[in-house]
Amino acid sequence: MEEKNNLIGKAVNRIDGVLKITGKATYATDYPAKDMAYAVLFKSTIASGTITDIDTTKTQESQGVLAVITHKNAPRLNVKGGLRGGALLQGPEVYFYGQHIGIVVAETFEQATHAAHLIKVEYHKKEEKIDFEKLAPSAGMPQGKELADLFRGDAKASLEEAAVKIVETYETPIEHHHPMEPHSTVAVWEGENVILYNGSQIINGAQASAAATLNLKPEQVRIISPFIGGGFGSKGGQWANLVLTAVAAKMVSRPVKLALTRQQMFNSVGLRQRNKQKISLGATKDGKLISLAHETTTHTAIDGEYIEPCGDCSKIMYETPNSLISYRVVPMNIILPTYTRGPGKSTGSFALESAMDELAYKLDIDPIEFRLKNQPERDPSNGKPWSSRKVIDCLREGAKAFGWEKRNATPGKNRIGNNLIGYGVACGSYPARQRDSSAVIKLTRNGNLVTATVEIAASDLGTGTNTILAQTAADGLGISMEHITVKIGDSNLPPAAGSVGSVGAASFANAVNDACTKITDELLVKSNKKFFVRPTASQLMISEHINSFDTRADAKAPMEAEQYSAHSFNANFAEVHVNIHTGMIKVTRFLAVTGAGKILNPKTARSQIIGGNIWGIGMALSEESIIDPRWGNFATRSFGDYHVPTNFDIGKLDAMFIKEDDKIPNKMGIKGIGEVGIVGVAAAVANAVFNATGKRVRSLPITPDKLL
């Protein structure tokens, strides 16, 4: 008889690794369709106003052109169907530079691209709101109630009384997700139903919003997305391009492929907004925090509100009797901001953890000791007990592994040749949640071999969902991984949560695990026998000579989870070298120590954490999008201008996990690691730059010119 596998927690290889490195994994544009036509979007070249004329004469005469779709001939769509960012060709109004204003469909991509260049557009321009510096003072209260001012005690009065204080403003620029796979869709109509091959972090969400926007029933829309080439939030909510592909396919009565270009990615699929964060910290002489205020000013779209919650980490990271978290927002003629890896927490922790470092320096206390002195017993924002909280272990074990004792507390004193060397630390957190998800298990027996198919409308951003679900099913059923087929990424499968907000692993794996338990229970009942040791589903299929057996589980978070505050926590350690002549920075070492519950697969988990670290390093040192306030366009419009980190920017990376056995957030004890990997990273790097040079840069990214 087969034993249980105990694969959960093992660093097994990705089950789809070979498919990916051989190019056989099918991403959205890889789906062939007979008679495919190609669509290219064209965009506004003003930020605010009305289109008075679109001359498409030359375009329509251009070789291979099948259709030109603008607001004049586009079908009526439901603009409140749940897609993000508008731009659905429903009217002549322009709300931001680079808004989609039309589509050219042609026999080839090249023909469509060329024809799109021939379009002439005339506008009636209105005064744009695009200069954040000028508009920030007029920012008002957010519409969303969850971001209303949050007072505890009296942060202002207590700051006045504090023996030592810091009041500083930290700035973070617009950033872009830029997944390796640009947003792409293939739309194929079958009668009144449409199949949309489209990278989607939330399969059922994409289905619902596409259907509602197209005025269809959800069952008329099928989303197929087994592989996603990254998304980082930009493929969570879906954008106009998804539905416009379906519209184009309908209008030419052929399958249509629409892939955004890298340039179009800058203003088509949301962005991380620019933030000004004012942090006021007050402490007693011996380093006890008595006041914490985190006041964020940011921007949103003219016709919609999204604000990343920069104050979230400040709510829970430190014990303080007095706190204030607030947001002010100004609508601008820029595309709607959206969820961007570690939304709010990554940028918010840059401000909070930089300020903590500044205050520790002022207090002349080691920044790790300062953090340890101010750990809360319970969640300060709601008084709930922690489900588990391993910040202290993250800091202590990280300090030991990193060699923190070698840090010179006096900035600018550690120099080798022309390089100044600095160490920095910063903490982070991200909520742990399980969301409703359903999974079906189908077992088939052939002699003594039992194989299983796992079905769930989960998504895999490239992080390893397929693999962890195979591990979970293997353990839950007593079947080896090679005999398990995982089917995800299809809205025809049982509905599931998305790969967003670090809920994916907990939601999907618990659903599969529940289905494994349920199918075993059902087989036990069917056997009508009593066993001394609980047999596996596989053993039961064989012993009871059952040829096929299915079940479905609908998993929910445990009821008691609500009574606790559950988060993943981390501590980040950075070593930087700063050239004294050029100001160029290299992160020579980075260590992230994370307490994130059960780690299902240390190999894919490490990849996720260091991936987050690398983006955090990019956030700290190089990523920034600049808007030209005269027109509202991005002056940074390619990877030549928008600098993501290269291999040469990244030194030695290490990821450590603190063991946690916390079954409160969910039965499997999974907290999620997708978001937390970027939280605290930029602050750790910025704090290391301060330790190296004595220069405190409060405006990201820390480019060489800021250190001169």
């Binding site: 090249e110 050239n579 050029t582 002056a635 419009r637 600098h643 290269t646 060489p704 010119d705």
Partner: protein
């Protein structure tokens, strides 16, 4: 991209004749810049003449004549091969360093030496066809002058254009006084000094260089020099690889003990062409190779800079970078920053 005619030939004269008869034709070499610009609708040739099959890829020593001791590098050789060729690594290591500081390995494997000289500015307003740009569309105005000009020129710009020339390779060539050999119709050869090859924008920013339509870069000649042991290329950029220079400096020092016989300094990222730092060079001639002298010369050079709104930092950064490069070169070509 716009429809275009595609022609190829293995014969240099034929290629030149093909180009010469069509004012809207372009040569296509590695394509690492031209094809990008065509996809963006910035370059709009109606004919491409593929010259990658021309026999112009060799690298050879010049053994005879007044240029003996120099090296000839084929115009259509790949950047990677030029950087790694033993003749270059041994006698012209400054060129190796500069080429390897540019782009990425993949691009250097595609890009040709002649094509590198022909690459166009990376000014984002030049690339964005919705924006005014005198270089792309003469007379439409310069968006960068009053716009986002952090990457732009501090020397030699005009009211028509403040773009910088992006090459690293050419900065080293400038410091080495290379010559660009070009073939004209009917086979005549013309040699253009590197420092006369690229031009300042003046009233014609649409013209990057002094090459005429119908001329083909056949080779780059590196004259013999005696600073192979004391050269350095320092490039400052927003990330450690695959970024254009904020400021770069190529330098070679001819030393007699601690005395500077001559200093050769060229800068990248500061002008519409490789900027020869002749003020610093003049100040250093005959002086001791000390950090103080390097700093004085560097600051003297940069005191003539005319920065724009967003690139004032380039003045101080330029002085630092010249100083750092001279210091490195004085320690020896293999010194590490």
């Amino acid at each position: 991209m716009r429809p275009f005619k595609f022609t190829n030939t293995k014969n240099s004269s034929a290629a030149i004749n093909l180009l010469d008869r069509n004012p809207n034709a372009s040569f296509l070499a590695g394509g690492t810049n031209l094809l990008d610009l065509m996809k963006e609708d910035v370059e709009r040739p109606d004919e491409l003449i593929d010259i990658t099959r021309l026999d112009l890829t060799s690298i050879s020593s010049i053994t005879r004549g007044k240029n003996a001791g120099g090296v000839l590098i084929g115009g259509l050789g790949k950047n990677t091969n030029a950087a790694n060729h033993q003749l270059i690594r041994k006698d012209f290591p400054l060129l190796t360093k500069a080429i390897l500081a540019g782009a990425s390995a993949q691009i250097r494997n595609m890009a040709t030496n002649g094509g590198n000289l022909m690459q166009r500015t990376r000014c984002s307003y030049f690339y964005d066809t919705a924006m005014p740009c005198n270089k792309r569309s003469p007379g439409s105005g310069c968006s960068a002058m009053e716009g986002f000009n952090r990457m732009h020129a501090v020397f030699g710009w005009s009211n028509e254009c403040v773009a910088v020339y992006p090459s690293d390779m050419a900065v080293a060539l400038s410091a080495m006084n290379a010559n660009i050999n070009v073939m004209q119709k009917e086979g005549q050869i013309r040699s253009i000094a590197i420092n006369d090859f690229h031009r300042l924008p003046g009233n014609h920013p649409e013209k990057d260089n002094t090459l005429n339509h119908g001329e083909l870069i056949t080779s780059i000649e590196l004259p013999k020099n005696n600073f192979a042991a004391h050269s350095a290329y320092v490039k400052v950029r927003d990330r450690n690889s695959y970024a254009f220079a904020l400021v770069s400096v190529a330098t070679g020092l001819v030393l007699d003990g601690n005395k500077i016989v001559s200093a050769h300094i060229a800068m990248g990222g500061v002008a519409h062409k490789p900027w020869r730092a002749s003020i610093a060079e003049a100040l250093l001639r005959g002086k001791a190779a000390t950090l103080a002298n390097f700093r004085l010369a560097a600051e003297a050079e940069m005191s003539h800079a005319k920065p724009l709104f967003h690139n004032k930092f380039k003045v101080g950064l330029g002085a630092n970078t010249i100083t750092a490069a001279l210091q490195l070169a004085s320690k020896g070509t293999d010194a590490v920053a």
